[in-house]
């Protein structure tokens, strides 16, 4: 009896086609069925919150995760836990769409949302151009095309300005971007971080590594001789800590010339609109004489 009921539900779910309903394809190539207009969104990761705000849909967000802290407009919003995902709290917010990040969220989560009748749209940002592409796509999704386009053009202009400063530079320091200073997590193949380093006028030494988040060996770094080491260790990072953890790096060019820098983590670890300001900050570190300010 219960099974028959569930089967019924399934059929209703499949055949229901309300007027004005639209189908779109998300960044994972999944087909997502959406109501004609969307007024209530929850975002499952800080990066997609920032993208939604950039697309002009910030006012439609009705709840964010406990990890979210940007932009300031989210201060008053209800919070839900993401480790593990607090499905009840999210469903209770009654969103018409859940925005997820391909980097952070798991595909398994969508089963639970779709069984509650809530569509999930995945955003994937793996290159720098993906940022503005995602903003435009979200603008169309939420009917805020104008604001989204404006913001996208603004960001693209900023990237173009930076590119104009750095593209012709012949000296491109070999750069290592680290996520952790003890266990050497880095970005491997197919990450936006290499676009950022390239745009900032550097050469990323981990861009051909086959895994997505390789844990580097100390000897790899010794052998690759990075001229600049940057990490998402925070702006207050004491560069001598890196050598105290990796004593053999005393002859790495970046260490010898004192070019080890801690960066604010968010513009690098959250693939959203702030990647652009992250690229600028990186450029100021790599080419302090050429790149002054946007």
């Amino acid at each position: 009896m219960r099974q028959a009921y569930l089967l019924c539900l399934l059929f209703i779910g499949c055949s229901s086609s309300f007027p004005g309903e639209r189908t779109v394809e998300d960044d994972l190539g999944r087909t997502v069925v959406l109501p004609p207009t969307i007024e209530r969104i929850t975002t499952l990761a800080p990066s997609v919150t920032e993208l939604a705000f950039a697309a002009g849909a910030g006012s439609k967000i009705v709840g964010v995760s406990t990890f979210d802290d940007y932009p300031p407009g989210i201060d008053t919003l209800p919070r839900f836990d993401m480790l593990p995902t607090d499905f009840e709290a999210i469903v209770a917010l009654d969103p018409e769409l859940v925005l997820a990040s391909e980097q952070v969220n798991s595909l398994k989560d969508i089963d639970i949302f779709s069984s509650s009748g809530i569509p999930v749209y995945f955003v994937a940002v793996n290159t720098l151009p993906d940022v503005t592409r995602a903003i435009r796509a979200l603008g169309e999704l939420f009917g805020t095309t104008e604001a989204a386009t404006r913001r996208a053009i603004q960001l693209e202009d900023s990237l173009a300005q930076l590119s104009a400063l750095t593209a012709s530079l012949s000296e491109r320091p070999r750069t290592l971007f680290l996520i952790d200073d003890v266990t050497l997590y880095a970005f491997g193949q197919g990450s936006y971080i290499h676009d950022m380093i390239d745009l900032a006028g550097g050469h990323s030494i981990t861009q051909t590594m086959t895994t997505r988040f390789p844990v580097l060996t100390d000897e790899f770094v010794l052998d690759a001789r990075p001229e600049v080491i940057v990490g998402s260790f925070g702006l207050q990072y004491d560069a001598t800590k890196l050598v105290s953890h990796h004593a053999t790096w005393d002859i790495v060019p970046a260490v010898v010339s004192g070019r080890v820098y801690g960066l604010h983590p968010d513009p690098y670890l959250r693939p959203g609109p702030r990647l652009v300001s992250g690229a600028w900050a990186l450029a100021r570190i790599l080419h302090p004489d050429t790149v002054i300010d946007p």
Binding site: M209, T210, V215
Partner: protein
């Protein structure tokens, strides 16, 4: 010294040579010349500084740590199997590794303040956690003046679950979620933090363990026959049990602190060794030491080499390579325990 023991030692020696000279960054001959330069106290031309650091300061301590950790896990595994007279026993059975893990997670994820530096505090926290777990287990099993093996095992399993749950709780409620990835890497067992200075403490602990266990080799043989017959053989069963537990927590705690919880070595190696040497501890212990050492060294070589420039936690490799080998061994030999 039997022929197999010499064979294992030669194997260990060449394994170290292969381990320090394998990798994209330094050529085989360059690695050998670095070793030669140091072992002859500076004879010949000074090697390239990068090759020197890679071979002498990164790969060699790492290879030696693999030997010490693998060897330590091997002998403690053999001793634990004798202590509880159960072939399933391994160094981590008494909850030591779970306790150490919980202690390290507490520190690593920002619940405990770093006392001196991260590199020092984490092993200390791991050691304290392991000690805490074994004290609970011991006080439960050792009541009424008699150390019950059954209670020891049950309490060990229970405390391991408790500590495991504690670690998970700590991990999920961490104020610094960014560090989850790193703690995970360490928890899975890895030798990537090896330096000459991190070798000191595990070396001392494992050496104490090896010598003490060799001294106790005959009583250990007696223990395998059961408490009462061991007693009738003149073995001080109760005090031997206590010594074994203290040794296990000392060695295992220091190993977990240095390299995380590397599974399966302590379980598999003594069994594999017994199928060659028989059950006499005078042979099982040294053979388990060398076999465990060589096994972990090769496992770490795979962990280093499988992804160019990057590494895997060696604990994954020991399970992936060790378990099938162990199952084949179980199937092929008419292996008996005790």
């Amino acid at each position: 010294m039997n022929r197999w023991a010499i064979g294992l030692l030669v194997l260990a020696f060449f394994s170290v040579i292969i381990s320090v000279s394998t990798g994209d960054e330094v050529s085989f001959s360059e690695a050998l010349s670095v070793l030669w330069h140091h072992l002859t106290f500076g004879y010949g031309n000074a090697p390239d500084p990068i090759a020197d650091r890679i071979v002498w300061r990164l790969r060699l301590p790492r290879a030696l740590l693999a030997l010490i950790v693998g060897g330590g896990l091997g002998i403690i595994g053999a001793a634990m199997q004798a202590l509880v007279r159960n072939p399933l026993a391994e160094p981590y059975i008494l909850g030591i590794s779970s306790g150490a893990t919980a202690g390290a997670s507490l520190f690593y994820l920002g619940f405990l303040p770093p006392l001196i530096s991260k590199a020092v505090s984490m092993p200390v926290a791991a050691f304290a956690g392991g000690l805490c777990a074994i004290l609970i287990v011991y006080s439960v099993a050792g009541g009424r003046g008699h150390l019950s093996v059954t209670r020891l095992l049950l309490a060990g399993v229970a405390v391991a679950s408790l500590m495991g749950a504690l670690s998970s709780f700590i991990t999920l409620s961490s104020p610094e979620p960014d560090k989850l990835r790193s703690v995970l890497f360490w928890l899975l067992g890895s030798l990537h933090l090896a330096t000459w200075s991190t070798l000191i403490w595990p070396s001392i602990a494992v050496l104490i363990g090896l010598i003490s266990l060799l001294v106790l080799a005959r009583p250990l043989d007696g223990m395998l026959t059961g408490d009462e017959s061991a007693h009738s053989l003149g073995v001080q069963v109760e005090s031997i049990k206590r010594i074994l537990i203290i040794l296990a927590s000392l060695v295992t705690g220091s190993i977990v602190a240095a390299s995380g919880a590397i599974g399966f070595v302590g379980l598999i190696v003594p069994h594999a060794v017994r199928s060659v040497t028989g059950v006499t501890h005078r042979r099982v212990l040294p053979a388990s030491f060398i076999a465990g050492a060589v096994f972990l060294l090769w496992a770490d070589l795979v962990a280093r080499a499988i992804l160019p420039g990057a590494q895997l936690p060696v604990g994954i490799v020991t399970a992936l390579c060790g378990v099938p080998f162990f199952l084949i061994l179980l199937r092929r030999s008419n292996y008996g325990f005790g």
